[in-house]
Each structure stands twice: as structure tokens, then as C-alpha cells.
Symmetry: C2
């Protein structure tokens, strides 16, 4: 933020407003406080018989890598509406949503992932503009080395484990950015 | 948004960017697209023996009405950290968080409420700067007519019902704004 979106002034500074405890973008000209808050990424894990639907990304970040249909929740949407819209946009797929399955906080990038389990309603799916391919994968064929995001890998791993155990709960977790390894740790393997 | 926060131009218009499907604030000078997304309100329902902790609001909206400790999730926070921070700020109370309990989409105001159940750790609590009073209430004494928000009333009602049934799940729901009654419906009572 370089200019105040209320008054256009360039007198923007990060400082803690009176009565607040965190630095915000504050306008020195009109005193507007510009809050920034985490975004919700909503999506689903669509299943057809034993297989899971994945989309190969046609856009950055992680172009060419595989992911579950998911994207930013929009103003005016419920969580379920957002998950179904993203599935339609990225995979042209219609799903029946099942219970919320994974809720993952990503504090370093100010996102919260919210993934529902889902039942794919038919096989009439295909890549939308943000996907290169859309495919159903058996567990044994999941391209684990080419999954786009750690949230998605975690959600898929947990799903296959729970499926074997026969019980799906809600999994609430967090992913912190991996700290860089110090040379000593790298040397130690 | 009246001015572009990237370049300061006043040439801001709501229009659908190429490849998008929703209107966004777009800058005619530098082409920056300013997305707006729903915010997460995170909080908890702190319990001590049979009683529930409520805070009387010292700020608008709904000054003087009762609520559970909750507020906007901040960048850099996990959901749990946010719920505990809000509880400390509004009620000076320390809690052990229990499983996520209520998740309520509010599409018309672009918010998603996420409330954990919680166990109050001690009785050393009291009003923070945003609260006038903090009190423990038995179910019979809950001031239902003075609850600040519908999300909070829904969460509390559900909690007392589940407690009687002996099982707490996760409740995912949505609150749409009540449509104004047409004169015919008003007349019909």
C-alpha cells in the first residue's frame, strides 16, 4: 500500500493506531486505518468410487502441478457455495458436498484453507481456464512429487489414511513455513 | 475505494477484469486489481462448570449487548491463536481450546464466524477495553433478548441443546440477512 485508498495521499505509514496492538497502514492525511486480514481458500476433495479428482494448474504459482479444486472465497458467498463454484470453474465438475474435512491455518501467508469432502456427481468434467488437465487418480497413482501445495498433500494423505481407518473427522491444523536448515543440520543429513 | 493504493490515481472503477467473472475495483491508470474477500471472525465459548462466559460490549456495533469473546483473525495468526488472543483481550481470560464448534457463513456482510468450544482455566477474568462487564451465566440466566449478534445466539442455543444431548459436533451453517417482510406478510402476523 503506497497511497491511501480513501483520500489518495502518499502519506502512508505502518504504525500502531491508538487502542490497537498491531501495526496497520495508517494515512497521515485523513487518519484512515487500512486493515489487512487473512483470506479463506475454500475447495473440496471430489471422489468417484475409489478415485480422487485432481486438476493440473494452468496458472502460477505452481503451474503444471496437481491440486484439488480450491480458490479464494468471494464476498457474498457461503463456504459451500465457494467450494462448489471453484470445483465448477477449475474442473467443470458438479459435486455433492460432504462434511468439512480439513481446516489448515497458514499464518505466514495469511490464509486459511477449508476443504470439504465431496462426491463427484458424474464423469462429465474437464479443465476450466485455470487447469491444463483434470483427472481421476487411484491412491497408488497420486503424483505425490508434483502436488502443488503442502495443504493439498496433507489433505490427500490424511484422506487416504482415514479411508483405510473407516472414519473421517474434521482435521484442524496449521502449516508453518519450514525454517531454512542451518549448515550444521544440512551436513548432518 | 476512491483512489488506487498502488499508484494514487482516482481513476477507479468497478468492472470485471479479463478472465474474471466478478466486478472488482480496477485502476484505469496502472491496471491494478483490488480484490476484497470475506473476513474470518474467530472466538470461543468458554465454560466454567455449568456456566458460560459472556462479555458486555463497550463498543459499537451493539454497545451494551452481550457476546462471546470473538474478533477478526489477524495476519500471521492461526485460528487457535486468534481465538485465544480475542478471549484474553476482551475478557482477560485464559482458556484451553476444545474442538471447533460452529462455523457460520454470513455472505451479506462477507464474514465467516469460527467458534471453538473452550474450558475456562481460572476465575481471574474481567473486562478488557472493549468490554463493559464479563460474567458467567447459567443457561437459565442467559440474556437472550440482549445478545449482540445472531451468530452468537445461534452458537449458544446449539451449545445448550448439544449439552443436553451429550454430544458436540461441528455445526456448519449460514445466516442470510432476513428479507424485509412484505406488507401482506406483516398483516398476516
Amino acid at each position: 500500500m503506497k497511497f491511501c485508498s480513501h483520500c489518495g495521499s502518499a502519506d502512508i505509514a505502518l504504525r500502531i493506531p491508538p487502542g490497537d496492538s498491531l501495526p496497520r497502514f495508517v494515512c497521515g492525511a485523513c487518519d484512515a486505518i487500512h486493515y489487512e486480514n487473512p483470506k479463506i481458500v475454500v475447495g473440496c476433495l471430489p471422489v468417484w468410487e475409489d478415485r480422487v479428482l485432481l486438476c493440473k494448474r494452468a496458472i502460477e504459482p505452481r503451474l503444471g502441478r496437481w491440486t484439488l479444486p480450491a480458490g479464494f472465497l468471494e464476498n457474498g458467498e457461503t463456504l459451500q457455495a465457494g467450494a462448489m463454484r471453484e470445483t465448477l470453474e477449475e474442473a467443470n465438475a458438479r459435486v455433492e458436498l460432504l462434511p468439512l474435512y480439513a481446516l489448515i491455518s497458514l499464518p505466514q501467508i495469511a490464509q486459511v484453507y477449508m476443504m470439504f469432502r465431496a462426491r463427484l456427481l458424474d464423469l462429465d468434467f474437464g479443465p476450466g481456464p485455470e487447469s491444463l488437465e483434470v483427472e481421476l487418480f487411484d491412491e497408488a497413482d497420486i503424483p505425490w512429487e508434483e502436488i502443488a501445495f503442502r495443504t493439498i498433500a496433507r489433505t490427500l494423505r490424511r484422506f487416504f489414511l482415514d479411508r483405510r481407518l473407516g472414519a473421517f473427522g474434521l482435521h484442524v491444523s496449521a502449516l508453518e513455513r519450514r525454517p531454512p536448515l542451518t549448515p550444521d543440520l544440512v551436513a548432518a543429513g
